[in-house]
């Protein structure tokens, strides 16, 4: 559906992760694995081969003892919109339209049965949010019992990534339609990681709806592709023009600075580059 063809207000689901609250506990990672039938292997210590739709990075400020500081940064797929809605780094490159940008929800989908495993999308994603199934997924005998029917397990040879728990969106919408409603309440569609986070560090909602908590928290500026007005808020690699829908909050300057690359002695973020 192209925008403009209808007057319906589109939703743009996004996430705000409060890094002051995040304790690095890893619940979001596991919530995602459990929700989305993510496979696992006997040795997962090679992080270059370990499928983690949600990955929690450990950042350090690089200062010597005892000035050292640590911050955790959970990284789902950023659901990048690109400089013009839909021009996500990954979507624009996929030759087979196996990953697509939904104008209706702002979610970047991944169609496992369409994907033929060229991995171009992985090369395009600066956040390393995409994972390839190098192996057939294998569950120990009996453990397939816990697999959820809402998310199909992926076969070897295709790429997968965080979907903002799209099946939950569908489930919520189905329920709303059954009840004769067209609009979803804020709490009707929440992602598994948001729901699980013990610290309540993740907030999820519609960035196009000023009443939703996510909008209130970061105040996305529509004139600048959603750049946050809240001075404590930032997005990862803002300057690349990927236009992510995942925002971070931190009261610590070094953490906010770690979100992007700056030249030495560069104080303020310059105008981000724009890309066709």
């Amino acid at each position: 559906m192209k925008e403009g063809r209808t007057h319906k207000r589109f939703q743009k689901f996004g996430m705000v992760i409060d890094l002051d609250k995040c304790t690095g506990c890893g619940s979001c990672m596991v919530a995602c694995m459990a929700e989305n039938n993510v496979p696992f292997r006997k040795d997962e210590s090679n992080k270059l081969l370990s499928i983690t739709w949600m990955r929690v990075y450990k950042l350090t400020n690089g200062m010597p003892f005892p000035e050292t500081d640590v911050c955790y940064l959970p990284r789902p797929c950023m659901q990048c919109a690109g400089q013009h809605e839909g021009h996500s780094p990954c979507v624009s490159v996929c030759p087979a339209i196996a990953t697509d940008y939904s104008m209706e929800s702002g979610i970047v989908s991944q169609i496992y049965t369409r994907c033929f495993g060229c991995r171009y999308c992985m090369a395009s994603c600066p956040y390393h949010a995409r994972y390839f199934n190098w192996w057939d997924p294998i569950w120990p005998d009996g453990m397939e019992k816990y697999l959820s029917p809402n998310v199909s397990p992926r076969m070897r040879g295709v790429v997968e990534k965080c979907s903002f728990c799209f099946h939950r969106y569908q489930r919520a919408k189905d329920r709303a339609y059954m009840e004769g409603r067209r609009e979803l309440q804020e709490d009707e569609y929440q992602t598994a990681c948001t729901q699980a986070c013990p610290a309540g560090a993740i907030t999820f909602g519609d960035l196009n709806n000023p009443k939703h908590a996510v909008s209130e928290m970061v105040e996305p500026d529509p004139k600048h592709s959603g750049r946050p007005k809240n001075p404590n808020a930032f997005r990862l690699l803002e300057r690349l023009g990927t236009n992510p829908k995942v925002y971070y909050l931190s009261s610590r300057e070094w953490v906010r600075r770690a979100g992007d690359n700056y030249l030495k002695n560069e104080k303020k973020v310059k105008k981000p580059v724009h890309h066709g």
């Binding site: 409060d18 002051d20 609250k21 304790t23 690095g24 506990c25 890893g26 619940s27 990672m29 596991v30 919530a31 694995m33 459990a34 929700e35 696992f40 006997k42 040795d43 997962e44 210590s45 090679n46 992080k47 983690t52 929690v56 450990k58 350090t60 690089g62 200062m63 010597p64 003892f65 005892p66 050292t68 640590v70 911050c71 049965t113 057939d136 569950w139 120990p140 005998d141 009996g142 453990m143 397939e144 019992k145 816990y146 697999l147 959820s148 029917p149 199909s152 397990p153 992926r154 076969m155 070897r156 040879g157 598994a192 729901q195 699980a196 986070c197 013990p198 610290a199 309540g200 560090a201």
Partner: protein, 741 residues
């Protein structure tokens, strides 16, 4: 017909063109790609009717409410229960992985009897009746020989009906040797007993405190009820509560606090005394509270003034005196300050002096039994069972002292001293422990000096494990009588660790038992019946479930309906326990036994010459280090700076590494007086120079291929250090050295 060259070539080319233009190749191409989309070896989960079951997670003492999503009779997802007073929808990564424990390869699927040598992993399947009969036979023999006290029981838990059934069974049988796994709760219970005269659970009203001073407690690293602590931490962030973390390593708790103050390990008690010095000297204490509720203040004040000046304390702790003064003022001037002690996730006790010193700080600022303070929490008392039938053998057996020395003349007030057990299991003629039952605990993994514990176990003629999983203790047992796991059984779950608000949850069967397992409560009842006589009479119930139903009375229906019971509205003293000391006050100096908050260094094993470094453990939410080992999902979250392949990394300050001539990633041999292990070096600026830190929770030999054989079990490198005043294990580390491998 003769086919010429021309004819042949035309045929081949024409054939190829014809085939290409026919639907055949296109159809094949299409079919083969469809086949790849439905490979039979990639499972397709069956759909069905969705339903939700509310229950409680007991994978740790956090006791979160959970909601399990089911599709027909399969459990497909565990989620935190919305509105639950502990976790309100949140859930930790271990709780989220519960279904891997339910359906996983680490389950013990049927009763097993050892056939080979202990620990060799040779088992035969045995029926439940045979297994229980065998145990009963053995127990009957021991009892008839007149040594019922030689039967012991190790439990991970000592509250609720199941633990009480264990204890009740032992008492009726004639043994005082019911032992709970150690933790910082032991120190707190004792401190509260000595200073307040109560036997109660320590509760911390973090939610309402505005200045939290933690002497090394990993408040968000798995301490207490982990999800509750996460929520508390977020509330602190929102409210701007000051949190000060004192410990030698930048743990997550330290990183998330307002201020991290590194301290020489093992000197936390000295700092507490130093802070007391400043508070007393500058009269910053709560004079009102001291006057009305505290006994022995003036004598203690003199001691504090005399011996713990900021300069003295600075030289002990390595924290400069200015910081000490500022910290003391900040603490005392806050309106609801709270001090807490205990290292890491609280799985080890601390020296009683340290605990009392920190507790004394709370008394100085008057936050005992106050909003935002520390509480002695009494449990909701719903277990009212008939008197235990004691025959002569039971009465005689119960006269014996406990094997671990708890309650003895030396350690009169300590309730459990499990780490002392190995040394009492004497290699002499008659072993004082003839049979040992283990439930909800894994001492062969979690106990310091694993080898010594294993040697001790080897001398016990009968070791019975109730474990649902093939953990290290089960691996080394003679019989495994596998319990249902928490998702397959009924059990009421009392107040979570560290909460001041009483909560009772109900664990219930989310799915049918998946294997030939049996509720441990039923096994106890069966064993009692088998023994007959007074023991049988002590257990008038047909089944554990009926026992539970009867015990809970009206509460049963309430729990079945609501999932948990809590007392949110009620405020102390409804469940707080007031002072029951001789003076009726908080006693800074206990006149009965002369105990007094002070600093006594715990001297750890090893001398500095041979072992120039100090090894300390650290805890992480991503490494379960207790009874439960990491399920595969949780292992996936372990960072590659902690575990790579089978190698665990020790953390080392770059300065230390330089002194030792070591670099990042280097393979080294870590040696302590207790053991030796190959590890790799990870440089981390967040650890004090001179220290080596090793994570706990790795180095399993049991469980499954996803966990076993990876890294090193910290407990193989450390031994217990007995606190002379309490008998508790007060070890906070051990001396160590690193050599290039």
């Amino acid at each position: 017909m003769k086919i010429g060259r021309r004819g042949f070539l035309s045929f081949v080319i024409g054939g190829a063109a014809g085939t290409a233009l026919s639907p055949l190749p296109w159809k094949l191409m299409d079919d083969s790609s469809i086949w790849t989309q439905m490979w039979p070896w990639t499972p397709v989960p069956e759909d069905g009717e969705a339903s939700y079951v509310n229950s409680v997670c007991t994978l740790c003492p956090g006791h979160c409410g959970i909601t399990v999503r089911k599709i027909d009779n399969r459990a497909v997802k565990i989620e935190g229960m919305k509105g639950h007073p502990v976790n309100n929808g949140g859930i930790c990564l271990l709780g989220l992985s519960g279904l891997q424990l339910l359906y996983g390869p680490m389950r013990v699927k049927t009763p097993l009897k050892r056939t080979g040598k202990r620990g060799q992993g040779q088992w035969e399947k045995i029926s439940w009746n045979d297994a229980v009969s065998e145990v009963v036979e053995k127990l009957r023999d021991i009892r008839s020989e007149g040594h019922p006290q030689t039967v012991g029981f190790i439990s991970g838990f000592d509250r609720g009906t199941v633990s009480r059934l264990f204890e009740r069974f032992l008492t009726a049988y004639g043994s005082p040797n019911f032992m709970r796994m150690p933790s910082v709760r032991d120190s707190y219970e004792l401190a509260q007993y000595l200073m307040q005269g109560v036997q109660a659970l320590p509760g911390f009203d973090f939610e309402n405190s505005d200045f939290v001073l933690s002497f090394g407690s990993g408040l968000i690293d798995g301490w207490g009820s982990p999800v509750r602590m996460s929520r508390v931490h977020s509330a602190w962030q929102s409210a701007g509560v000051k949190v000060i973390q004192i410990e030698p390593r930048l743990s997550n708790t330290a990183a998330k606090s307002d201020k991290w103050i590194p301290i020489n390990p093992g000197t936390e008690g000295a700092l507490a005394m130093g802070l007391a010095h400043v508070i007393v000297k500058e009269s910053l204490y709560d004079a009102d509270f001291i006057e009305n509720n505290v006994e022995g203040f003036f004598d203690w004040k003199n001691l504090v003034i005399d011996k713990y000046s900021p300069d003295t304390v600075a030289s002990i702790t390595g924290i400069d005196s200015r910081t000490i003064v500022v910290l003391a003022r900040g603490f005392a001037n806050a309106s609801k300050p709270l001090a807490v002690c205990g290292r890491g996730n609280g799985t080890t006790p601390v020296n009683i002096d340290e605990c009392m010193a920190v507790h004394a700080l709370n008394a100085l600022v008057g936050n005992i039994h106050k909003k935002g303070g520390v509480w002695a929490v009494s449990e909701p008392d719903y277990i009212n069972w008939p008197e235990i039938e004691m025959d002569a053998k039971a009465a005689a057996g119960m006269q014996h002292e406990r094997l671990d020395g708890a309650g003895s003349k030396t350690y009169p007030f300590t309730r459990y001293l499990l780490p002392r057990l190995p040394e009492t299991i004497d290699p002499g003629e008659k072993n004082p422990l003839q049979a040992l039952f283990v439930s909800g605990a894994n001492p062969l993994y979690t106990h310091p000096d694993t080898q010594a514990v294993r040697n001790a176990f080897d001398k016990i003629p009968l070791v019975v494990s109730f474990s649902s999983y093939m953990d290290e203790t089960a691996q080394n047992a003679d019989l495994i009588l596998p319990n249902h796991i928490y998702l397959e059984r009924y059990e009421e779950v009392p107040t979570p660790a560290g909460m001041i608000e009483p909560v009772i949850g109900l664990s219930r069967p989310v799915v049918e038992p998946q294997f030939n397992t049996r509720h441990v409560g039923d096994v106890i009842l069966q064993m009692a019946k088998g023994l007959g006589g007074s023991v049988a009479k002590t257990f008038p119930w047909d089944s554990y479930d009926s026992c539970l139903k009867e015990t809970l009375g009206d509460l049963w229906n309430y729990l079945i309906d609501k999932g948990f019971w809590s007392n949110t509205g009620a405020m102390p003293p409804f469940f707080g326990t007031s002072y029951e000391t001789a003076s009726g006050k908080f006693e800074l100096i206990n006149k009965d036994n002369g105990s007094i908050p002070q600093f006594k260094p715990v001297s750890i094993e090893g001398d500095e010459k041979d072992y120039p470094l100090l090894l300390i453990p650290y805890d992480s939410m991503r490494l379960a280090c207790g009874f439960i080992g990491d399920p595969p999902f949780v292992m996936k979250t372990v960072e590659d700076s902690i575990l790579k392949g089978k190698d665990v990394f020790v953390e080392l300050n770059p300065k230390t590494a330089r002194n030792q001539g070591l670099r990042e990633g280097q393979r080294v041999v870590l040696t302590t007086p207790k053991g030796k292990a190959e590890v790799k070096v990870h440089l981390f600026e967040g650890i004090m120079p001179g220290l080596v830190a090793l994570p706990r929770g790795l180095g399993h030999t049991g469980w499954d291929e996803y966990l076993a054989g990876k890294g090193i079990n910290f407990n193989t490198l450390i031994g217990p250090v007995e606190d002379p005043d309490s008998g508790l294990d007060a070890a906070w580390g051990i001396r160590a050295k690193l050599e290039k491998a």
